[in-house]
Subunit: 337 residues, 2 copies
């Protein structure tokens, strides 16, 4: 196995103390960069970018030198799994994802197939191979997937939503169907993530973007067991679990067999550490809207974040010679226990 | 002062132990009821309903007998204050509120006036007078307002948003302007709530609908101090503070001079009680999506909620002879300390 030159991220995940904290930004590959926007303008749609390995690779690499980040994250979309299972989606400009057909009955669930990651999502797997070759072991590559509950939410609701009430209704009205669908998504996700690792992903992050709309009991029943299955299946590389809004589940998340837990900006680092325990690396949590402010404010807020994580202050070097245009950019700073 | 016949709510707020827990539903007056929908169809728009005292009164009364609730809540909209301050809004069908002009500069803030609740929002004050007369002291009437941060979010963003990144950007980029606007909203809100109480509101609830998008530090700086001002100003009747998503602030909210704290369905009752302390009444937190399920599930989930609040099981009588069509209906059960 080749040694990765900048291994700050990998060593931090293992719990080693490093000279400085590794930095990457959520959605660093994408609309925040002018070179992304000019490439995107030439294309039919967002999905063309996701489904063309050479383009997905190019976009993944764009922020690496421009921002000086310590990891690349493969450019893709969490909904590729749904499509690979037989439920296609469209990505409407500014409106977000839209599913022409949604899951309503057990028959709908039965008609879905369990995706074979290697074959059914070959475009992303190939993009990972190309990106690994291009990175030439300079920095690690992060692979990712959505968590089963988050995919379930889209596949039942049919689009983004403030409340996902249709998806939540399904949990209360038909728990049997819900579990059947969640299991099928989980099996597909494990196949997909294993293919990502085989293709070269050095770290896996799973995103539970809609964790925060569930109550604690529903989260324990309909999300955590499936995340656990994924963590137990992906043993080759470290896994990061980022459950947005699931402050109420941090104690349980601390018991998952994952290496790192991602916090959002609502979560207090010290209180989160108490709940998660001492054997996970924590991934930090700058409010993405801070990036709209001037450099002095960004620096001060980042400094404050580091202090919150009870570390001796180490000023971060953030290569931010750009104006963020994407609100959901999150500065992730990985911190050792 | 007249004695209100069904005083379950008022006694519970005072911390008295009652034979059963009082029940009211968030948005009980509105789209969940067929008689509301048929009235609404005949009108020009939503604002006609809000701005016509006789109609607002009629809609407020609709759920009282139909659902058998223990309190009425005046039918209005949190954005009436913004309009009274000089920033008009439109309520587009299915799209939600929209402000043609938003607050961008200090000059914009200076041009806003501090609303006089009695005069500038006379329609809601008159609706309260009519409703009080019609209720004839059978059950109490809840008055309400949005919290300053939530109104700020709409007035800067211009509409609803998943992230309110424009509003949050303002906090980081121009805290001075932000505080000036928040203070002006607070002064207007206090004037409006005092007029509501004078007109007959027996309880006041303030809603911080967008609390959950702020980080703990921003919430402590930009929201809590203004809620405190409101609680300190409204001394004639008990005040309920409901800060949706502000799990991180429950300890501070427990220190506010309010009588009741509302919990959302993400918040665990026992953990919340520990943080809030023992001298507040807690307002419960059934997930509104539970109301989509059948009666047996609704009953079981309500029972579970009551058990969570560490009470001897008292089965609630829920007069729910209707199909909820509105996702954000919340079953509020007030619980004594």
């Amino acid at each position: 196995m080749h040694h990765i030159k900048n291994d700050l991220l990998l060593r931090t995940i293992k719990g080693e103390r490093t000279d400085r904290k590794p930095v990457w930004l959520m959605r660093q590959a994408g609309r925040i960069l002018p070179q992304y926007r000019s490439l995107r303008e030439k294309l039919r749609d967002f999905k063309e970018l996701v489904e063309t390995p050479e383009l997905a690779c190019e976009v993944t690499l764009q922020p690496v030198d421009e921002l000086g980040v310590d990891a690349a994250i493969i450019f893709s979309d969490i909904l590729v799994i749904s499509e690979a299972m037989g439920l296609p989606y469209e990505m409407a400009e500014k409106r977000g994802p839209y599913f022409p057909k949604t899951i309503e009955t057990m028959r709908d669930v039965q008609q879905l197939r369990i995706a074979n990651g290697e074959e059914d999502i070959a475009y992303t797997i190939n993009a990972i191979r190309l990106t690994k070759a291009a990175l030439n072991f300079q920095i690690p590559l992060i692979g990712f997937a959505g968590c089963p509950w988050t995919l379930f939410a889209y596949m039942v609701e049919g689009s983004g939503s403030k409340t996902f009430s249709k998806a939540k209704k399904m949990l209360f009205v038909d728990p049997t169907l819900s579990h059947a669908l969640l299991q099928k998504i989980t099996d597909s996700t494990i196949s997909y993530l294993k293919a990502q690792v085989k293709a070269g992903a050095d770290v896996i992050q799973v995103f539970d973007s809609w964790a925060g709309i569930l109550g604690p009991k529903e989260y324990a029943e309909f999300s955590l067991p499936y995340i656990r299955q994924i963590c137990e299946a992906i043993t080759e590389v470290p896994v990061t679990v980022f459950a947005k809004g699931a402050f109420f589940a941090l104690q349980d998340i601390g018991q998952l067999p994952c290496a790192t837990v991602g916090l959002d900006w609502n979560m207090d680092p010290q209180k989160s550490r108490e709940q998660i325990g001492n054997n996970k690396t924590l991934q930090g949590n700058l409010d993405p809207c801070v990036l709209y402010a001037n450099h002095a404010t960004i620096q001060a807020q980042t400094q404050k974040m580091l202090t919150d994580f009870v570390l001796r202050a180490t000023l971060l070097t953030l290569g931010m010679a750009y104006t963020p245009t994407r609100h959901s950019t999150v500065l992730n700073v990985l911190l050792i226990p």
